[in-house]
Symmetry: C2
Subunit: 406 residues, 2 copies
């Protein structure tokens, strides 16, 4: 039931990256559920993680390893989030890192662990460790799509994006995969996203680009307003491309790479929304005319997370009163509601805080029938603007989440 | 589909109050949709209103009339919220007040107008004015239940509560009605509530009691986190009971009346939740051990408004990981998650931030099958506590709100 998504094609390998997937029997049904990503020696890695206080055991371990070592592997399991599992969870996550270190000859601290799935159940460590040798043996540069499949939980379709750019004389490739469909209101990063490039860039520059790209993509989406315990986003630069190392934030090369990566991040984050649990619409919420960026974001999320606005979209009902009500609840106390303008695509539905003179229900209904709709709110009090992406709220969402553990 | 609600019986008349309802044809289907409440001369009236910036035209008019006059009438229509209607809406609301003033001989400013229903459509003033003489003619002390019915919109059952207390030698009666089922996250008051007593109390004392009672009742409930444009709560004291006027906040009489009114307010606000759109469960969320009351409220609402927690309750699935995740997202940055305890009724499901040793899925499932469940979270960092009430999120909620205007 995704909106406008197709099975990814022409996913490019990245020089310096190999991947592998297998079935560790973490689901009742047989499927690939374990993924390994290997980075060539010398790769720089930057990552951001959930701000949920109950952050999962693997998130805690990955953060620690990242500060102390230069990572060589990401080990990712679906089917179990290893969250809310206390000391046992931390121990279990360490054990899998250690087992992988033994199988590959790297150090335990060079492994970043990731988990996604049901919260509160103990990680079946033995099942994972048993298949690690198989996983290591099958590493291949061409397994990105397999990885996109093996990290899925309630996702209905694997999500991957590739792009090539020129950096001077060099061709640079970028490939990323993401999983995520529900519990989506990332705060620093979405559920799990892994993006790699062969660009040659200093680690601190890579970290800056990651923050910029995340703030324009994964930190601008919401399905249900619930921030996961396991959100993680990892950006790897293998440095295998033949260009001078990027070490200056004001250089043209930095700008080109930042743009390209941000565009891949946006496409990946939008894919999460297009595959949002129960999504029947892909909604772009743009708020312009704000005094600050923060108030644009507040208004956008208040609209995007209102169950009444979401259900109106599900029904293709141009119930703009609910949109006004959501704006009125967004906590901007000195907002003059008599200036507000609201557009559905190019149709003006509200002007001067009330129904536009030119608006008719027919015009609104035409837009509402579309799968993809852009809602624009002009606050008319400043120069700032922000864009976020969200879904509607359908019967299917309830079905998926009421039956998740059955 | 309400939870534990029955048709109200033994609703007491209040000395000094008369009511009347009729059909003004504001719905396609024939039903009563217009209500008049008359208060005896000398009655004191206190009211609180929505904090939504897009507050409806009648709310703006009622606020203004209340500051300038001593009200004699509430005129309430269902079927049209007269919100998002700009200058026209203010004019329309005034016209109905003026027409009622003509029909009763009172001043326009002595009428408080209220509207509830679809947002953004023009109020059909003529339909209302036509039936005002009939409405005035039929005023009766015994029409409380009729009023509870005529103010309903998506409510499935009329909601009314009565109580009597002794104040020294005097018997005091309290009767209240409320409507509300969706767009429920009141901020000062719920959709529409009218509570009357024959107690004799000074206006400033009555206002204090109203604020206290609202903060323990209508400001502690949520269905979907959406604050309406029309929320209003009116408390009337006719002063017809034969006791000395209450004019001292430290008196025993003040305390007795405050307690009794708060109890009626709580029962009414809980009725709104029991009749919440699509509700299949009535959930009490109690947060204890907070450093401040505000953090208890933040945690409680974060749990109550998480679509993932709500759908788990719909499915009777004790998915406590989603509860932990919601607590972790509630914005208390110095919270030590390793101290958290969570109870479903008397079953401890989480201790020290992880699954309780004594907990089994069977124990959790037994509680989850109930219609009424109390969820208790102990933050273990202070002495404050708060209680709020909410519902689950079911297919029925989607159905009601996707089809609201069709």
């Amino acid at each position: 039931m995704s909106v406008g998504l197709k099975l990814p094609t022409s996913i490019l390998p990245i020089n310096g990256i190999r991947l592998s997937t297998c079935c560790a029997n973490l689901y009742k049904k047989k499927r690939t559920d374990l993924t390994l990503i290997e980075f060539a020696e010398g790769s720089n890695v930057a990552a951001v993680f959930t701000k949920n206080l109950f952050c999962a055991a693997p998130v805690q371990i990955a953060k620690q390893h990242l500060t102390e070592y230069k990572p060589r592997y990401c080990l990712i399991n679906a089917g179990n989030a290893n969250a809310g599992t206390g000391e046992q969870g931390l121990l279990d996550s360490s054990i899998t890192c250690k087992a992988l270190a033994n199988a590959t000859g790297c150090k335990e601290g060079e492994v970043l662990p990731f988990s996604t799935g049901v919260i509160g159940e103990v990680l079946p460590v033995d099942k994972i460790n048993t298949v690690l040798p198989e996983l290591v043996e099958n590493l291949s540069a061409n397994s990105w799509l397999d990885a996109a499949k093996a990290i899925m939980t309630t996702d209905t379709i694997p999500k991957a994006v590739s792009k090539t750019i020129s950096l001077g004389e060099s061709a640079i490739s970028i490939t990323g995969v993401v999983k995520g469909s529900g519990m989506i209101r990332p705060n620093m990063a979405t559920m799990l996203a892994f993006i790699a490039t062969d660009a040659n860039i200093r680690k601190d520059m890579l970290e800056k680009i990651l923050l910029h790209a995340v703030n324009k993509s994964f930190n601008r989406i919401t399905v249900d307003g619930d921030t996961s315990t396991n959100d993680s986003c990892v950006l790897i630069a293998t440095g295998k491309a033949r260009h001078k190392c990027i070490d200056d934030q004001s250089s043209e090369e930095y700008a080109i790479l930042e743009n390209a990566l941000t565009s891949v991040f946006c496409e990946l984050s939008q894919a999460v929304i297009r595959d949002g649990e129960g999504a029947s619409k892909f909604l772009t919420i743009k708020v312009t005319g704000g005094k600050q960026q923060s108030e644009c974001i507040d208004v956008a999320y208040k609209i995007a997370e209102s169950p009444l606005v979401k259900t109106a979209f599900t029904a293709s009902d141009a119930n703009w009163g609910r949109i006004l009500s959501a704006i009125g609840n967004s906590g901007i106390n000195d907002l003059d509601i008599n200036n507000i303008e609201v557009f559905l695509d190019n149709i003006c539905i509200v002007e001067n805080g009330q129904r536009a003179a030119s608006y008719t229900e027919e015009k609104g209904s035409m837009v509402m029938l579309q799968d993809e709709i852009k809602l624009t709110v002009n606050l008319k009090r400043g120069e700032h603007q922000e864009v976020i992406w969200t879904t509607d709220l359908s019967h299917e969402y309830i079905k998926i989440n009421a039956e998740y553990r059955t």
